[in-house]
């Protein structure tokens, strides 16, 4: 028991973030330029648009062992590709609900809009998401055991 709780104490979540190139990735850069600090648990994958992010990619990250997911795009109306984020919003709404429905903790799957000028908001978002994911502990449900 001791060793388990010991292990849980040391555990740090691994978070995969899909950020759109034009707004959210730029917002993440601005957080850096402004030196806003946030927890180091996040691994960012740059995609052209939040509309590029599919359900498969999110499931794949969960299967690969991510404890949480963050997808962020431009605010509605700001999409560099006109409407990518608006299609994405529909896909994400359904996917997030479905994953919750089958028992994935809602805290693990996170969607947000961050603009290129929202550096502090990005840092705050990562803090919040990291905290949320920590409250539900290591992911166990969809993680594929290898070997």
């Amino acid at each position: 028991m001791d060793s388990a709780s010991d292990k849980d104490q040391k555990w740090e979540p691994k978070i995969i973030a899909f950020l759109c190139n034009w707004c959210s990735y730029a917002g993440a850069d601005l957080a850096g330029v402004s030196r806003f600090q946030y927890p180091p648990n996040i691994r960012i994958i740059r995609v052209p648009c939040s509309g590029r992010v599919s359900a498969n990619m999110i499931l794949d990250a969960l299967k690969a062992g991510a404890d949480g997911i963050l997808v962020s795009g431009c605010h509605p109306g700001d999409c560099h590709y006109i409407s990518g984020n608006l299609y994405a919003r529909r896909r994400f709404a359904l996917l997030k609900n479905l994953l919750e429905f089958i028992g994935i903790e809602p805290e693990r799957i996170n969607f947000s809009w961050i603009s290129a000028s929202e550096g502090e908001q990005f840092a705050e978002l990562v803090r919040e998401v990291t905290t949320r994911i920590k409250t539900v502990g290591p992911a166990r449900h969809l993680v594929k055991e290898i070997g």
Partner: protein, 352 residues
């Protein structure tokens, strides 16, 4: 005994025969009796004579829309990929459609899988189809050797028993919550009109699951799919699953492993359901086809509920409304979006 089903069967035979005789269609897709008293099977009548075999009853659970694109294609002259379709009208097919099947046909037409012009649709309002498993439970595991159906009752009998029950008691779950029994596209109406139903709490089971905590939901999900043998009968029965290479068979990219590993099975069910998002009409063919009795309809039903609640979208009701994932509204719900820019929800952090 004269029942609605027997009358409808006669009418279907008559119409189908007429269509084939007059040459209006090259084939007619309906049902014939199956090898067991509790099943029917889809059947393609190609001659007027064959229409005498057609039946219509509460056991017609397989979704005929599923067979249409393939049947239509088989009637076209063969051509190489990329070769233009031949000039002039192509052979047509007659088919029976209930509410949900017709809506699948609408989606197949919207998704360019077939042309409306090539279909002659005999529309039948659905009285609800019977769940074979509920009959088996009723029979207590004894072999059902015959089945009789009246408008309101179902009578089964076997070697040492004969039992009677209200149809309502043995209908499929999806038929119990169906609100659109009438076909939305048709060329001729067969049989009486069933009024649009008002179902009390159509999503009761979904809401019950939603009310559970995450752990219990996961346990339920795991239990539900525990017996899955990855036979893909559910996928094969579905008129919406028509990709040439299904993601489960693809190795570039390989989104899901091929084994019955717990995670792979879960991934299969999640993605299968998600691929039907905004398209599933709750026809129940997947559950009816499953040899293991998995209630995978609940996954698509959840998506159906969300599409209705979030996007006011019910798929396949008309040919001109785009499917919900191919469109958007600027004001679509976004309460699930956690926004760093808005203060809502960001107060939790203790950092200053």
């Amino acid at each position: 005994m004269e029942t609605l089903f027997s009358q409808t069967t006669e009418a279907i035979r008559r119409e189908a025969k007429d269509l084939l005789e007059s040459g209006k269609v090259a084939a007619f897709l309906g049902f014939v009796k199956g090898s067991l008293p509790t099943v029917t099977r889809p059947f393609v009548a190609r001659t007027p004579e064959e229409t005498d075999k057609l039946v219509w009853n509460g056991l017609c659970v397989m979704n005929l829309a599923n067979y249409l694109p393939g049947l239509l294609k088989s009637l076209e002259p063969p051509r190489r990929p990329g070769e233009p379709p031949p000039e002039g009208p192509l052979p047509r097919v007659g088919v029976i459609a209930t509410g949900c099947w017709s809506r699948n046909m609408v989606i197949q037409i919207q998704e360019n899988q077939m042309d409306r012009e090539r279909l002659v649709i005999l529309g039948v309002d659905s009285h609800g189809m019977i769940d074979r498993r509920k009959l088996e439970v009723l029979a207590g595991g004894r072999e059902i050797q015959s089945l009789e159906e009246t408008d309101e009752r179902v009578i089964i009998s076997g070697r040492d028993f004969k039992m009677e029950t209200a149809r309502q008691e043995v209908l499929r779950d999806n038929c119990l919550t169906c609100v659109h029994p009438s076909p939305v596209i048709l060329d001729k109406k067969i049989g009486p009109t069933v009024p649009e139903r008002r179902v009390h709490e159509p999503f009761a089971r979904i809401e019950e699951i939603e009310r559970m905590d995450a752990g219990s939901r996961w346990a339920w999900f795991q239990e539900e799919i525990a017996t899955c043998i990855r036979c893909y009968a559910c996928r094969n029965a579905c008129p919406l699953c028509y990709c040439p290479t299904c993601f489960v068979d693809d190795s570039h990219p390989q989104w899901v492993g091929k084994s019955i590993d717990k995670t792979d099975t879960a991934t299969f069910h999640i993605l299968r359901a998600y691929h039907c998002a905004g398209r599933c009409t709750d026809c129940g063919a997947c559950e009816s086809a499953c040899p293991m009795g998995i209630k995978m309809r609940l996954f698509t039903r959840k998506l159906q509920k969300d599409c209705l609640e979030l996007f006011a979208s019910e798929p396949g009701l008309d040919l001109n409304s785009p499917l919900p994932l191919t469109t958007y509204q600027p004001e679509d719900p976004d309460t699930f979006i956690i926004a760093g820019s808005k203060k809502q929800g960001t107060q939790g952090g203790s950092e200053k």
